[in-house]
Amino acid sequence: MNMPERSSLDIRQPLLDSVLAGLIALVVFGPIVGVVLDGYGFNLQPARVAWIVGTVMLGRFLLSLFLHSVIGRGWLQRLDGGGAGVQVLAPDYRSRLRWIVPLVLLAAVVLPFFANKYLLTVVILGLIYVLLGLGLNIVVGLAGLLDLGYVAFYAIGAYGLALGYEYLGLGFWSVLPLAALTAALAGALLGFPVLRMHGDYLAIVTLGFGEIIRLVLNNWLSLTGGPNGMSVPAPTFLGLEFGRRAKDGGVPFHEFFGIAYDPNLKFLFIYAVLLLTVLLVLYVKGRLIRMPIGRAWEALREDEIACRAMGLNHVLVKLSAFMLGASTAGLAGVFFASYQGFVNPTSFTFFESALILAIVVLGGMGSTLGVVLAAFVLTVAPELLRSFADYRVLLFGMLMVLMMIWRPRGLIRISRRGFAQRPGVAP
């Protein structure tokens, strides 16, 4: 089926491509760049249009020329990566990851000794989004339930800490499990009415749920302080506080251990607990995927009718996906709140949901490693691009478009290990 390799470069197709791209550029940029309003009149600026169209045509020509060369074709084929879907790996396949994972872990452990406060906070934010991505990955990536209101559970976790402290005197440690539980309950609450919904309808309902939670937080002034937000207590370690001086005459952490006061201590502590939580969630998720429930989630994503025909309890399967995803977001919310020391509803807009969804989609639906990677890319990249702050969203959009063209299955394609023949059992 492959076309015979042509030895000489074919110049016609690139030329055609470049003319086409030029025409499109003319249509897009012509009116915007070429016609400049001047008071009540306008003047034409054909030179600027010509520059832009020329650049686009040249760029397209060179790209097309490259992609038509032998090297370029090979490159394209590799990008294509052999179609869609899950890779089934050989049973004895040993991934390069077994070298990389310990290295990453080592880096994660060593990091706090070298990092300044800024780097530390960026990494904490990255890890929080890893948690969020992992949670949403269960709902969207594995169970295939498009949830656009995921940020609601995140908000429940964050406000759980703020409200729990304000009204019940609870601290970081007691709220951590409680928030996971509350968020899971909220997940079930959302899960029940949407059990019969699929695709677009589900997306709309969850979108509404996310907005409801945010609007309630925003408008219930007497309880949540509305847009003014609420302060959140700093976390403690066995009751020891991380401030320079402890409240109520207690002993602060640094005095108790006889070390010098370091304003980063609080973030170091959050980082450590967060890292452990992420590792725990990674482990639990890794196990779940291999268990029947993980398989059931994926089956539900692939063919719901077949699941019903096989007598899968889809109520249980959907609810468990919703609840586990939600509880992970609840955990992330608690970390976010104590990291910020303050919560208000603007942290939980739809844009957050979209960002988390982007993490899952860019990372590769269902792929754990991809989600971890994408979470860092999407949270750390904006920090690195601070000098391009005005163009951040533009770059973000372009990245998305390119990804969807070249790696529609995400950075890392989901792969599953094939089964080995079990000794003594399989023939």
Binding site: R308, A309, M310
Partner: protein, 238 residues
Amino acid sequence: MSVPLLEFRNVDLHYGPIQALRQVSLHVEEGETVSLIGANGAGKSSLLMSIFGQPRPSAGQILYRGEDITRKSAHHVASGGVAQSPEGRRVFPDMSVEENLLMGTIPIGTAHADEDLRRMFALFPRLEERRNQRAMTLSGGEQQMLAIARALMSRPRLLLLDEPSLGLAPIVVKQIFQILRDLAAGGMTIFLVEQNANHALKLSDRGYVMVNGQIRLSGTGEELLGNPEVRSAYLGGH
């Protein structure tokens, strides 16, 4: 007379204002192979899916081993020992063959999974060759085998098959029906819904003919095969 394994008593079924089944009564005895034949849209698949409550009948009763399962949930029915190979096969495209088979164990748990996998691979050697391949890469016949094997993984007492010959080459249809014949000979109770009346009736102990949501005829497989009405309507008149 013993209680039939599966019994429909005067079942009506509606999709909104449209009536799909009218006063359907039929029964399947333990160890029997029974087929239900009829044209497109006669209500055959609706009847089969109504056993799993999707959709639920609007009147009448469905009994499984004497128990009324008309209002029971799908997983209750499945864990009672009813398994189905749904219309259009519906294997999980992104899962490997072995994972598809393991999905079949959901009603009973994975306690016998290894043993049953071995049994399925003995029954369908093609599946063993492809055990780590994604199901979407299988041919239609292999997918049908996988769908049947997946249903058998739950160790059913009653196997429901919805058009196993759908979209398959004649030679593959023959293979599939040979496998069903072997299963029936092994004592499996099979309730088969088919358009391919010739193959289905030859395999079956008894058959029902469905027209416009009603049971028009019933009898043994041979009787129906010889029936002039059946011959002209479903067997191309020869």
